[in-house]
């Protein structure tokens, strides 16, 4: 049987291989119900266009989140083009797939800059991918717009950060909890750089403000067994207290399901999350999250005319069942901020959008009436943003229970952590730059 069997096996396995490749191809093909979302260029002839790069993971583990951000960016580009483009020139988007692989991000960034000659790149989600392309953008002195809230402790001349710095998300959340929910904190996070850095900041902040960290635990990414953590929480906080959650991905589902089954209800054990937005609530199941909190700059329920219009437009473009969230909003507004910077640079004497030095200088100080409220680009390349705390309600959206009066200025260098206390960043002044003593 071995001879025939082997031949048959080769036939079968090649068939299996062939169909797996085909499945993958179809998987990508099925994502392209909207022709604009496909990889490659939109079909406008170049010459009279401004090329921009979009660099996110369209495949791999991060694709779930990053494709939504791409959609938001493409919506903004479509709107700008429909309104006549930038000084009469249309924007041509070149979409590249970073494939959730940081080396691929690096390659694609080089490709966009060198071969495609883009004027700007909108991209990245994870800090790992941003750190990977940071060198490329600095070496080639190019521009990246980055839409995610992140752990701070970075300030690049070549990157514009339109998500929150820790003092625009984590720190206000801790302050609010101290004031409203108790002073004893249990910190839970995934075991990698963002949660560990975030928890270092939180512990330093609690120490400075009179709170206590009663416990701290980290789950390996993807782990779903949280029984030991629940026991620890019950031992450390027998009468209830605050849980600060910086878990990422699948572990969140397990965490929220299991703490509820173990009787840790939101009235006694409120959980504050910093990486759970509308999209994640939908995936976990709103019924497991009702009553818990999240801290962001934007929620779909923000009541501004700009947001009402944006949510309507987004649903009209991508479907009524879709939700908008903070990273998508930051991705959407960064396209407009860049557009304004280009217009300002040209008004100031620059030849076109490809005069990167002029665009970079003109970007500082740009204001935009965003769905989340007014935002301003600061000298440290971060946005002034309003901070909000939302409580999950039954339909999976958030009730905004607290918000700052207005935008808060960003501090990329953390002021609670000893090593970066007193440091600032200022790209408008050549004597100051990335790090200077305030």
């Amino acid at each position: 049987m071995s001879n025939l069997g082997r031949r048959k096996f080769i036939l079968y396995s090649s068939a299996a291989l062939g169909s797996s490749i085909l499945l993958k191809a179809c998987g990508q093909a099925t994502d392209t119900t909207n022709p604009d979302s496909s990889s490659g260029t939109t079909s406008t002839p170049s010459g009279d266009t401004i090329k921009v790069g979009i660099l996110h993971s369209l495949s791999g583990t991060m694709a779930i989140s990053e494709t939504t951000v791409v959609e938001a960016e493409q919506l903004a580009i479509k709107e700008i083009n429909a309104a006549g483009g930038i000084n009469g020139k249309l924007i041509e988007a070149i979409v590249e797939d970073g494939a959730s692989d940081w080396d691929v991000f690096k390659e694609k960034a080089e490709k966009l800059i060198d071969q495609d000659g883009v004027a700007v790149v909108f991209g990245c989600w994870t800090s790992a991918s941003r750190k990977a392309v940071k060198d490329v953008f600095e070496a080639k002195d190019h521009i990246l717009f980055y839409p995610l809230q992140y752990e701070g402790q970075e300030c690049s001349k070549n990157i514009f950060y339109t998500g929150a710095a820790p003092n625009q998300q984590i720190e206000p959340a801790v302050d609010w909890l101290l004031e409203n929910k108790g002073t004893e904190f249990f910190l839970v996070g995934s075991d990698y750089v963002f949660p560990r850095t975030a928890n270092t900041i939180i512990k330093a902040q609690l120490e400075a403000k009179g709170g206590t960290t009663v416990g701290e635990d980290y789950l390996p990414l993807g782990n779903t067994e949280v029984t030991p953590i629940i026991s620890k929480i019950q031992a450390a906080l027998p009468d209830g207290g605050v849980i600060f959650n910086s878990l990422n991905g699948d572990s969140n589902v397990a965490f929220f399901k299991q703490i509820r089954d173990a009787g840790l209800t939101p009235d006694k054990y409120p959980v504050m999350s910093v990486s759970i937005a509308e999209e994640e609530v939908r995936q976990i199941g709103a019924e497991y999250l009702v009553g818990h909190y999240a801290s962001w700059n934007y929620f779909q329920t923000v009541e501004t005319p700009e947001n009402e219009k944006w949510v309507t437009d987004f649903k009209a473009e991508y479907g009524d069942d879709r939700v908008t969230n903070d990273p998508m909003e930051a991705a959407y507004i960064m396209v407009y901020l860049w557009k304004q910077a280009v217009e300002a640079a040209i008004a100031g004497g620059a030849a076109d959008a490809y005069d990167l030095e002029a665009v970079r200088n003109a970007a500082i100080g740009q204001e935009f009436a965003a769905p989340e409220g007014p935002v301003t680009m600061n000298v440290n390349h971060h946005l002034s943003k309003t901070v909000r705390i939302g409580q999950v309600r039954e339909d999976g959206l958030f009730d905004i229970v607290w918000a700052t009066d207005g935008p808060i200025d960003p501090q990329p260098w953390n002021q609670f952590v000893e090593s970066t206390k007193g440091l600032g960043c200022d790209w408008s002044d050549p004597t100051k730059g990335e790090q200077y003593q305030i």
């Binding site: 025939l4 069997g5 082997r6 048959k8 096996f9 036939l11 079968y12 396995s13 068939a15 299996a16 291989l17 062939g18 169909s19 797996s20 085909l22 499945l23 993958k24 179809c26 998987g27 093909a29 099925t30 119900t33 583990t61 694709a63 779930i64 075991d191 701290e216 635990d217 980290y218 789950l219 390996p220 993807g222 782990n223 779903t224 067994e225 949280v226 029984t227 030991p228 953590i229 026991s231 620890k232 019950q234 031992a235 027998p238 699948d250 572990s251 969140n252 589902v253 397990a254 399901k257 299991q258 509820r260 089954d261 173990a262 009787g263 939908r282 995936q283 976990i284 199941g285 019924e287």
Partner: protein, 392 residues
């Protein structure tokens, strides 16, 4: 006292999830010497089946919805057993006695299955059905021909050569044909890459209170489920005719074949059974965590540790290893050792080590270290197969 009870309960509950996910793997590995890297994906299929059954029952309304999990168990068992059967017939049976090739082939299958749930839509399902149609046609033709006096072998051989290219042609044709119509209901993925949400029925939410702690019903359900599966397995292997044949083939394949036991059928059945158990494990983990294309990956490594520590093909070893690992993981991760050592006024050295490892991710490191140490002394696990009966 209650703390101790709760500690034991928690350790057992972690252990029973481990056991449930390792049981099917242990059967395929132990009884047939097959290392099935697609076992995690079979669990994932079980979890997705739970999701589908849940959605069907949701449309039936309230009294039925509460019972969906009881229907999901047999359906998930049958679905994954069928997939496992296909896997054995299509891939694994050509690779017996070659563990490395089996490893690679099943790993490939696991990647295909992951991508399958991400991409599957009506177009792909139709293409796949068209591809499988060739087997139905072959079966029918050979059935009809067996009544006449045609050259049976020649025709069978002809099919051998042409069935797969023809099937591929047919399958791709249907798939591309449907994709060309650009009908979004046909080309939209059923599940996509996003995780989906399985909600436990009302009676599995919450738990029994014990002072500050609470024993979740879902955990109790999983423990009971594990006990039932174990009892079922024990009965099947030791009391049923097929169990007898499985044990016979395990002990001496050639002799069993000589005595008229259809070894190929026994292999396929055993593998299907192990796969079905993976499906049941999938239902259980859907109650605890998330259901997504990567779900199986989170459990496969732990399941392997259980099988390796337990020894090959031994139910008792698998049980002890799963419970042992569950309890060790819990005791280290929850910091019980720290409190214990502090109370005992043990030397600072021990307390410091214990508190260093007292987080969930470090507990995993410690468990790995203990397993490596253990395997230095008993390389074949807790209960190694004795003497010449081992067929590895």
């Amino acid at each position: 006292m209650t703390e101790l009870l709760i500690g034991i309960f928690n350790g057992l509950s972690i252990g029973s999830v481990l056991l449930l996910s390792a049981l099917g793997l242990a059967i395929a590995f132990g009884l047939m010497g097959v290392i099935n890297l697609a076992h995690g994906e079979l669990m994932m299929l079980g979890a997705y089946t739970t999701f589908v059954v849940q959605n069907v029952f949701r449309s039936f309304g309230e009294p039925w919805f509460n019972l969906y999990i009881l229907f999901a168990l047999p359906i998930a068992f049958l679905v994954t057993a069928a997939v496992g059967f296909g896997l054995e017939r299509g891939v694994i049976r050509y690779l017996y006695g070659r563990p490395l090739e089996t490893l690679l082939a099943t790993w490939g299958v696991s990647l295909i299955l992951q991508q399958f749930v991400r991409s599957v839509n009506w177009a792909i399902a139709a293409g796949l059905t068209a591809f499988l149609l060739k087997d139905v046609i072959r079966w029918l033709v050979l059935k009809v021909l067996s009544w006449k006096s045609f050259d049976h072998e020649k025709i069978r051989h002809g099919f051998q050569q042409w069935a797969i290219p023809a099937g591929l042609f047919l399958g791709f044709g249907v798939l591309f044909g449907i994709n060309q119509t650009a009908n979004t209901t046909l080309t939209r993925p059923w599940f996509s890459a996003r995780n989906v949400d399985v909600t436990a029925p009302k009676w599995l939410q919450g738990g029994i209170s014990f002072g500050t702690a609470q024993l979740p019903y879902s955990r109790i359900f999983i423990i009971v489920l594990t006990l039932i599966c174990l009892a079922g397995m024990y009965w099947f292997l030791n009391k049923s005719n097929w169990g007898l044949r499985i044990r016979a083939v395990t002990q001496n394949r050639q002799m069993s074949a000589c005595l008229g036991i259809p070894t190929a059928k026994v292999d396929a059945l055993t593998f299907a059974l192990g796969s079905g158990l993976a499906g049941i494990a999938g239902v259980a983990i859907a109650l605890l965590g998330s259901v997504g294309p990567n779900t199986g990956q989170n459990y496969i490594v732990d399941a392997f540790m259980v099988v390796v520590v337990g020894g090959v093909g031994n139910l008792l070893g698998t049980i002890l290893a799963a419970m042992g690992l569950g309890i060790i993981n819990y005791l280290i991760g929850s910091g019980t050792f720290v409190t214990l050592f502090t109370k005992m006024q043990a030397p600072d050295f021990f307390t410091e080590i214990a508190s260093f490892f007292a987080t969930t991710s470090m507990a995993k490191v410690m468990a790995f270290a203990l397993i490596i140490t253990f395997l230095q002394f008993r390389p074949a696990g807790l209960f190694p197969p004795k003497g010449r009966t081992a067929e590895l």
